[in-house]
């Protein structure tokens, strides 16, 4: 995969910088459509959950938590189901398009977490959480980022599979069976949503800490003044 690099020169001051084309159009498009879908699905999912906020029996019913209506989408169960059943297709199509693009373009190599990335994860964790030295950046994503982003895609796939097991436990009875039955499928679906929301939270914190250039690169594709060198 050819990575494009541009050398930029300010015509007034003559200062030179560099920019790298990090995110192809398809990746950026999928990123933002998926962001919207994820929030709609989580919001409507929580409204659906409000109809039976438990993972046990109906009689006697032991509620797990009362999720506030203000933080849910759809207003009532039927409304939430409409949002959920509309956006699941946008979410699924975006996910398939993204994965398909990454595989066929070869762009997946930039982000896929593989075995040889494992040793580099701990130094990054030490840097972020335990004031360790900053490892040198060699490519767009460090090992920890690859690990987290690859996990997020895996969680996305699991969110769809668990969702289908809950929605169609008869037609996809094998899926429900794989997840330990209908009750477990519903619980997995719920936990995976929280894992994805946890990812989003961490992702937002990192974007806020690491600045504007990363955010802009997900909009325009180009990252100015990259920390790493390509040659």
């Amino acid at each position: 995969m050819a990575t494009r690099v541009i050398a930029i020169q300010d015509p007034k001051t003559g200062e030179g910088t560099e920019a790298v084309y990090e995110h192809p159009f398809v990746v950026r498009l999928c990123h933002w459509v998926n962001t919207a879908s994820l929030f709609v699905l989580a919001g409507s999912g929580l409204q659906i959950f409000r109809a039976f906020p438990s993972f046990g029996a109906k009689i006697p019913q032991k509620d797990l938590l009362h999720w506030p209506k203000a933080l849910a989408l759809g207003g009532w169960l039927g409304g939430a189901l409409q949002w959920h059943l509309t956006f699941i297709w946008i979410y699924l199509a975006t996910g398939l398009f993204y994965i398909g693009y990454q595989v066929f373009s070869g762009n997946f190599k930039q982000v896929l977490f593989v075995g040889r990335d494992i040793p580099a994860v701990w130094p990054m964790v030490r840097h972020y959480f335990f004031f360790g030295p900053k490892p040198a950046a060699r490519e767009a994503y460090n090992a920890l980022q690859k690990c987290v982003y690859t996990s997020a895609v895996a969680l996305g796939v699991l969110s769809v599979l668990t969702g289908f097991a809950v929605w169609k436990p008869v037609q996809f009875s094998w899926l429900a069976w794989l997840m330990g039955g209908f009750h477990w499928a519903r619980l997995w679906h719920f936990l995976i949503m929280w894992a994805l929301l946890g990812f989003v939270f961490g992702h937002l914190v990192m974007v806020l800490l690491h600045g504007w250039n990363n955010f802009v690169s997900m909009l325009t594709g180009w990252k100015k003044d990259p920390e790493y060198r390509l040659d």
Binding site: A2, T3, R4, V5, I6, A7, I8, Q9, D10, P11, A19, F25, R28, L29, W32, V33, A36, V40, I48, F49, A51, F52, S54, A57, K58, I59, Q61, L77, G78, G79, L81, Q82, W83, L85, T86, F87, I88, W89, I90, W167, K168, P169, V170, Q171, F172, S173, F182, H183, R186, V216, L219, T220, G221, W222, K224
Partner: protein, 239 residues
């Protein structure tokens, strides 16, 4: 690789790339109050259409051993109105109309004369809970044959004593596990569970399983869907 440019031209490249993302703004149409309802309705229709593609008429819902059945006392009673619409069980009949050769009033004895099916299946509520129940009754398919239903008719719809109403597509109606149910847990239906006759459809969501049936109509078109469906729930909600 490695071309050069000046910073002004670089900014215009960035702007052009940003503009390419404008399709994302199309999702904002869901936030426009006037468009939201029709868009969500279209989404739900699409979802129901996909559901019809997933449905396999020969595929059976899982059945369970007697030991796995939820005790009768813990089988929830869900109504939209009253627990007991005070059906006169002595004089009750099921009134059959529409695209059938033998319309008229059918007694419970006539329905019970059909081969009896008993099955332990999962009842899934749209709210998210489920129970495994034991149900007994006649196949709706057998009854449709008895009344001489037009095999080309696409829908079977029901009216209930509590003014609830429901409708089924033909494939669901003739599914071998779809019952005109008159027994739960080997006892005649209790009033709260829909005496004397209810629908029991293991391949469909709970609200399709109408209780206190009074009318059955076979038709080529539907003038209304169902009590909940007409308020915005899925019509084809197979499990």
């Amino acid at each position: 690789m490695g071309s050069r440019t000046d910073s002004r031209r670089f900014k215009s490249i960035g702007r052009r790339e940003l503009l390419k993302l404008t399709p994302v703004v199309a999702l904002g149409t869901f936030a426009i109050p006037k468009l939201q309802a029709p868009l969500l309705k279209a989404g739900l229709s699409f979802s129901d259409w996909v559901s019809t593609k997933f449905f396999r008429s020969g595929h059976l819902a899982p059945t369970f051993a007697n030991s796995e059945v939820t005790p009768f006392s813990r089988f929830p009673i869900n109504d939209y109105d009253v627990d007991d619409p005070e059906v006169d069980l002595e004089r009750w009949t099921l009134t059959v109309s529409g695209a059938v050769r033998k319309p008229g009033d059918y007694t419970l004895a006539q329905i019970q004369a059909l081969p009896k099916i008993t099955q332990n299946t999962r009842h899934v509520c749209v709210e998210g809970w489920d129970v495994i129940g034991r149900f007994g009754g006649a196949r709706l398919a057998d009854f449709l044959q008895t009344i001489g239903a037009d095999p080309a008719a696409r829908f079977v719809s029901f009216e209930c004593a509590d003014h609830y109403y429901e409708s089924l597509d033909r494939a669901t109606a003739v599914h071998p596990q779809t019952l005109l149910c008159y027994e739960m847990y080997d006892q005649p239906l209790t009033r709260e569970h829909g005496a004397p006759l209810r629908l029991q459809i293991p391949t469909q969501i709970g609200y399709k399983q109408a209780k206190y049936l009074t009318h059955l109509k076979v038709s080529h078109v539907l003038d209304k869907l169902g009590y909940w469906e007409d308020q915005g729930y899925s019509w084809f909600y197979d499990l």
